[in-house]
Amino acid sequence: MAEDTVDNSQADAADESAEAATEESAEATEAAAVATEGTEEGAAAGGVEGEAAEGGEEGAGEEAGEAVAAAPAAVEAEPLRPDISFVRDIVNSGGSDLKKCYQCATCSVVCNVTPDDHPFPRKEMQYAQWGLKDKLMGSPDIWLCHQCSDCIAQCPRDAKPGTVMQAIAKMTISNYSVAGIAKAAGNLGGTLLLAIIPTIIIIIALAAQGSFGEIPRGHDGEIVYSEFMATSKAIDPMFSFFFLFSGLLFFLGARKYWRDMVRNHEASGGAKPGSFLSNIGPTLSEFLTHKRFRECDETEDRANAHLLVFYSFVGLFLTTAWAVVYFYIVGWHSPFPFTNPIKWLGNISAAAGIIGITMVLIYRFNHAERVGIGSYFDWSLIITIYIIMVTGIGAEVLRVADVAALAYPVYAIHLISVLFLFMYMPFSKMAHMVYRMVALVFARATGRDTGVA
């Protein structure tokens, strides 16, 4: 084949670094794999068994021969290390159609968020089929993917590249946190088991305060949640502890991810990347408008849904910080009157949250036919956020309506679900906020992706 760089690669390999040679031999073997795939395709097509099989096998033999020929140049380089269990994990994490891929690269072309140079997700499909875990874990590209699903809609083989990318992303989370917990968070049984811990913590905390006795009331007989669960003695220490602990895990995971990316980048001849801090500014400002999300064709509407949820979280975080100021500095205790701006911020944020997550839900169903409904990993986060939003708003409404018999239990569920989210952030899809940010900053620091226009 005149244009096949398999041929050229042999000449080039001698001149280039040993690492580069590995790359070349990967390409050659890749060609072999593709040719073999072609054979299967021919048989599957039912129309051309004999001919396609013949052509395919011949191609495979030829390319494989070249792969072997290229191998001596690669002796000093790291050999490829296929990790079969990694492949199995991807398949079990939603990437079950991975092996349908025949490397046509439609996905890379229809993707609007990939860099043009070594685009994703075609190469990731190849790495994933081969179980090249190292190439995929320390790669920014996994998280540059925004799940637009344009690739899924256009894939001629229904190999669902976007879903595979997400399965790999999920494994990144597992790889850079505690694998056992992440694995549990990836299925319903495990999630329910994990949920027992925050439930028990909240129950113990309530029992210790004697809140299971008579219905707690404020001075004027109104519902006051801090009488049920004390702010300074219970909520703040517990939630702060788990929040900060998750923050620490995030920091450790993100640092390791960054270092792995630097190592892979430099090993393939890349220049030393810029620092994290000097590149985070533009990345954050991109988040504020969700510019990148808007590049999606197939699921363009997700941008606004995600934006609402994003700002809801930001708003609720600020509300909490504000309440801390009121409580510890000004000495005001909740509940605050509706005339106080803190209530405005809190309620607007909650409204944005419930509207946003409902939009997420509706859009998912609308897009399901063309791009699938999403994995368990997506749904556990969506449902967690839903429970938090519904119980949070519900607790406020029931408090004002003075339905104590329901208000306190709903509030308890709200506390459990928020604690659940905090505790397992580093293991759930929530971790995407950290890894995606780190990946985007890294891509900017290496010049791989300097932002969307």
Binding site: A2, E3, D4, G47, E51, C104, A105, T106, D116
Partner: protein
């Protein structure tokens, strides 16, 4: 005893072959062809691969065999409406649509000169027009004019009737339905080019200089709409830089799920058309997923690989845009053996669209179709056979061999039935 041993549905290269092979072995065969001419898709091709000879070589041989053999007959503009009965004695109902021109026609062409109505010429995929009375194409068999009554003004005009010296035109002809009994039915219903506008990401129907491979055949053919000039539909500019987008709609679950089997060879062949037209400076690039040149066809592939003006790049064309200022076509792909997304500009892009079995729209009465619409003769009743692309995607050589096989199957049925 049935009227005929074999009814062949479809008079393309496969159908005519099945009929003459059966007839030459002593069976009575009749061909039912829906077009006003025999020869089917093959007649539309400029050249065959790999020998690059004109398809009329093969077709003429079959037509001569038909003319010389009293055991084979044919109906044009005829469709099978129903099939009942069993092997050895199928009752086949054939609807014969009127041609409005009888056997007295000498193809003198005087009628065309006076016909006031134009119609799109579907034989050339709408690239040119014919009059309402027209010769299907220059080498049509039978060599006889036909009237498209959907546009003809009928007896209110009748200009053609007035100028025809031979009394060959009869605007009052009516359709008729005939019942024929037959021992076997061979479906050789062939294929239609896949509708490229269905390929969501390629915008094929909105960009004039993106054409299908069958349009390319008509453009290259001396009897085609451009008289063999390969020029851009938008502005008539000579095509010097051409791209072939392989698997356009084939091997694609959103379009045709299967490999159409001939498109790789067809594009390689078409690359020779343009290299021959402009040997000095024409450049052809073939963008592929896998190049399939099975068996001896590999020699053909190797020959093209030696031509430095023919480039083959692994990576499917997944986006096509038009530069409206120049009419150029810009394709985007990921060069899988290169390093990234590539945008390249061409004078014209040929989509290597695949073959969709005609049975998908024809819905043959008595055959069992597999999921893609090809006829599964094995699953169909005894005495029902399939040949050519109706059976599976195949090139001309394989279709002809398969048609001979179908003729053999017919002989076996005839023999079994007479032994009972």
């Amino acid at each position: 005893m049935a009227d005929k041993d074999v009814i062949v549905v479809g008079g393309g290269i496969s159908g005519t072959t099945a009929a003459v092979e059966a007839a030459e072995a002593g069976l009575e065969a009749v061909i039912v062809e829906k077009n006003p001419y025999l020869g089917g898709r093959v007649s539309q091709l400029f050249r065959y691969f790999p020998k690059l000879c004109p398809p009329y070589c093969g077709l003429e041989i079959n037509f001569r065999r038909i003319r010389n053999n009293p055991k084979v007959s044919y109906h044009t503009q005829a469709v099978v409406e129903s099939v009942s009965g069993a092997a050895g004695d199928f009752k086949v109902s054939i609807r014969k649509n009127p041609r409005y021109v009888n056997e007295k026609c000498t193809s003198c062409g005087e009628c065309v000169k006076v016909c006031p109505v134009e119609r799109d010429n579907e034989y050339n995929f709408g690239l040119d027009k014919t009059r309402a009375i027209y010769l299907p194409h220059e080498l049509a068999f039978p060599m006889r004019y036909v009237i498209d009554m959907s546009v003809c003004k009928g007896s209110a005009c009748a200009e053609c009737v007035k100028v025809c010296k031979y009394g060959a035109i009869d605007l009052e002809m009516q359709p008729e339905t005939v019942e024929v009994s037959a021992g076997n039915v061979v479906y050789a219903t062939g294929w239609n080019p896949y509708d490229a506008s269905k390929i969501e990401n390629l915008n094929a129907d909105t960009i004039p200089n993106v054409v299908t491979n069958m349009v390319m055949e008509r453009m290259a053919a001396p009897n085609g709409p451009t008289k063999g000039a390969i020029v851009r539909p938008s502005d008539g500019k000579e095509v010097k830089k051409i791209a072939f987008a392989q698997c356009a709609g084939s091997r694609d679950r959103n379009n045709l799920e299967y490999c159409s089997a001939v498109c790789c060879m067809a594009s390689l062949k078409q690359a020779t058309y343009i290299r021959e037209k402009y040997p000095e400076d024409a450049e052809a690039t073939i963008f592929y997923i896998d190049l399939r040149a099975p068996g001896k066809y590999e020699d053909f592939l190797r020959k093209l690989q030696e031509d430095e003006k023919v480039t083959m790049r692994k990576g499917k064309v997944a986006k096509i845009e038009e530069d409206s200022a120049t009419g150029d076509v810009i394709v985007t792909l990921e060069d899988v053996f290169g390093s990234g997304k590539v945008e390249e500009r061409f004078d014209m892009v040929v989509l290597a669209t695949g073959m969709e079995p005609a049975a998908v729209s024809d819905k043959p009465a008595s055959a069992v179709l597999e999921k893609n619409g090809f006829i599964d003769a094995g699953a169909s009743a005894d005495g029902i056979h399939a040949a050519g692309v109706a059976r599976r995607p195949s090139d001309v050589a394989e279709s002809v061999q398969g048609a001979t096989g179908a003729a053999l199957k017919c002989m076996q049925t005839v023999r079994e039935v007479s032994n009972v």
